[in-house]
Amino acid sequence: MCYDLSKYHDIILNFVPCGDVITTLSVTIYYLILQFFIMKFILENSNKVRFGKICSLSRSPNLELETPVLLVNTKAGSVMHLSHEVLMKIDGPIQCLQVPLSNSAKCYEGVRGFKKGIMEFAGMKGFLSYCSVHDPAEKLTKGKNEKEQISVNTCNGRIYITVQRYMEIMEAFQPDMYEALSDGYNDSNSSNRRLCKSSANSMSYFDECMRIHEKSKILKQTPVFGVIEGGHNLIYKEKIISHLLGNPNVCGFVISGLHSNGPDVEKLCFSSIESVVHQTLKLLPDDRVKVIHGCFRPEVVVRLIELGIDIFDSSLVDIVTNRGSAFVFGWEAVDKKTTMVNGNTEGDRDKSVENELQSYKLEISLGDKIYFDDFGPLLQGCSCLACQKHTRAYIHHLFVTKEMLGPVLLMIHNLHHYLSFFAFIRKTVRDGHRVGII
């Protein structure tokens, strides 16, 4: 049953307990109320691998997102290399698009005057949108961060963004979900000094974001995700989490600071982030959504889902496509021999998973001469348009001649493949099985 509660929304929001008088009880009550209007996360199974659905999004109340969710990464609102016409030829389920500020800030003036948000501006009306700060497909290189503003790498060079400006952009973009601004320049190699600074910056950006958020007619109904920086250091992470938990507007958490984005994330093995992710998750309430960005390899994604992460992005698709490769990895449902609660697994299973790393082939590189006269599809049995209508030999030719159709066809295949992978994961975890990569 559906009730139109939106008219009560403002009344309730005006009862927001804020500032110093906030109490744990009032936060909890407020969060429960908030769920009706802003975003609801229904956790369907927290016993084994968690899955659930995100619904009642204030801007698109009729759409549901089944978790684990794949956010399809965009450049300025468009999926890389694909116009809307071509994107519609991919039959995989696109649940939500990710709009990173770093590649879409250039649209700000246009979107602001347009008044209908970034999705409709980018020709993507009808898609859900999630706004993040950085593009996970692009390596972060640190600029001079000031206390009041953060530097962002864009295709047109580095820009500096204040919290005020960030929130103005969010108001213009009108996303379905967005991340609070944070200082993302930290990873496992960061100095203590940097971690300290990034945490302090992030918390002060967050407070400032929320101050504007609560006053903004457009944004106060939009779910906000709090970003947990602090590298791999749990002391900083804990400090940020307790800060974020003090604000009832936070609908989900981004576990950040694990890496510095870009292709290097592929080299991360699960064991190098398992502990920090696991410990961080322990500090977070079960009933909120958890996000991790970055182009992790498929087996790492599977393990992160088993740990309890709900939302990922498709930056691996962008990276693999841009290096001229096509996905060929496969997946299978594996019967669970061991019970697993919140990612606590037995030791010997871990070993077999580590072996997966070597045992499957992620991609083939179409620039390779061996495909010169290979008239087979990119991947045997794939139902995407690129595999149905074109050959490896033709796509090899497109890469040799640097023709723009090459990346288009690879993107069609790779996105189709990765969307199918996530669809399979959603189905398999609901059936109570593990996912294996082959």
């Binding site: 300025a76 290399h81 030999a393 497109l398």
Partner: protein, 389 residues
């Protein structure tokens, strides 16, 4: 010619303009029936600038062009043959036309030298000397398998002493697939009326199904350009298609259709898209300009292409020349623009309203009726008079 057993081109004229030399027809080719007058987008290397074959079909594109020089170099005739021809290799089921490779060679390679044997050149992918003879050009074009092939012509010498007619014969002689592929000879002769007429007369003695007019997409004065086109269409047989090579600006297309041309090709619409420009009835707009930052109209009002249905100038402005999507979107629109223009031309000829169409088109194209003199002259030569006052 009518007795040719395996005629793989039928040219069925639907209607001729009662005033000018314009006509509309169905040109039946082995892979597709092409409605003329037709504009053929250029897909140099077996792909049309980032568009999928089904996007071209959605744009109602009937025939596209491939470049023999490029395809002969990469991936090479052997591979294309192994793939079953270019149609299969690139996944395009409609008609294809290939040039001879000679023009590309002379314009791309500074060291190309033309002898009686053919075009001698240094390979750009390794220092060896190569020769593109009429036989070799046809050998490659046979492997590509386009519905229409071009003879190899001497683009340099023709302007002085007249075309090498024997190259046409060598091409026809070398042709292996007369049942499935046509050869069009090329009328050369520069800006010299006598050479052009001499060439046409000689070519008309050959067993061919259509004719191309070459050597007119360079920097010649427009007043010479239209006179030569007009001369050629006067002398060429009426019951064969006439292809004017390398011409594709909207106003040139309209004028040359009036002069009796049926087929055109040009890289302009796709090239200008890559530079961030969109074609409109009143000329092209450069979307990089700041003026479009908050312009929420489509590239062209009333355009039914997939780009204009969904995207604004403002969005294109914010991603132009940075994201490849902008280029794809502009390419779709620009090809749609050319296709729509040709369709309105065809329709107006069928309804015998072509002269009105031309006057209307020119009014939109040139504000305050400031028509270029050559257009006024060319059109009045075929009895279409622009109202200049």
């Amino acid at each position: 010619m009518e007795t040719h057993a395996n005629k793989c081109l039928q040219f069925n004229i639907i209607k001729e303009c009662s005033v000018s030399k314009a006509r509309t027809s169905f040109m039946v080719l082995p892979h597709y029936t092409v409605k003329t007058p037709v504009f053929m987008p250029v897909g140099t290397q077996g792909t049309l600038k980032g568009l999928l074959p089904e996007q071209l079909e959605a744009l109602d594109c009937h025939i596209i062009l491939g470049n023999t020089y490029h395809l002969g170099t990469r991936p090479g005739p052997e591979l294309i043959k192994k793939a079953g021809g270019l149609h299969k290799f690139m996944g395009w089921n409609r008609a294809l036309l290939t040039d001879s490779g000679g023009f590309q060679m002379v314009s791309l390679l500074s060291l190309a030298e033309i002898t009686e044997e053919g075009v001698k050149f240094e390979s750009p992918y390794g220092g060896s000397n190569c020769m593109l003879s009429p036989e070799e050009s046809i050998h490659i074009q046979n492997a590509i398998g386009a519905d229409i092939m071009m003879q190899l012509d001497d683009v340099v010498k023709t302007t002085t002493t007249g075309p090498r007619i024997n190259w046409v014969d060598r091409c026809i002689e070398a042709h292996q697939n007369p049942e499935t592929q046509n050869i069009f000879p090329i009328v050369q002769g520069g800006l010299d009326n006598e050479l052009r007429i001499k060439c046409i007369k000689a070519l008309m003695e050959r067993d061919v199904n259509g004719f191309a007019i070459g050597g007119l997409s360079g920097g010649e004065a427009k007043t010479s350009f239209w006179r030569i086109v007009n001369l050629c269409t006067d002398y060429l047989p009426k019951d064969n298609p006439r292809y004017l090579m390398g011409v594709g600006f909207a106003s040139d297309l309209v004028v040359c259709v009036a002069l009796g041309i049926d087929m055109f090709d040009c890289v302009f619409p796709t090239r200008t898209a890559r530079f961030g420009c969109g074609l409109t009835e009143s000329g092209q707009i450069n979307l990089k300009k700041q003026a479009y930052q908050c312009d929420y109209r489509p590239i062209e009002e009333h355009c039914d292409c997939s780009t204009c249905q969904r995207y604004t100038r403002a969005y294109l402005h914010s991603i132009v020349t940075v994201d490849t999507v902008a280029c794809h979107l502009l390419t779709v629109h620009n090809i749609s623009f050319q296709m729509r223009l040709m369709k309105s031309i065809q329709k107006s000829i069928e309804e015998d309203e072509f002269p009105e169409f031309v006057r209307d088109f020119m009014r939109k194209c040139f504000v305050n009726k400031e028509y270029p003199e050559w257009i006024v002259e060319a059109l009045s030569a075929v009895n279409i008079h622009l109202d200049c006052s």
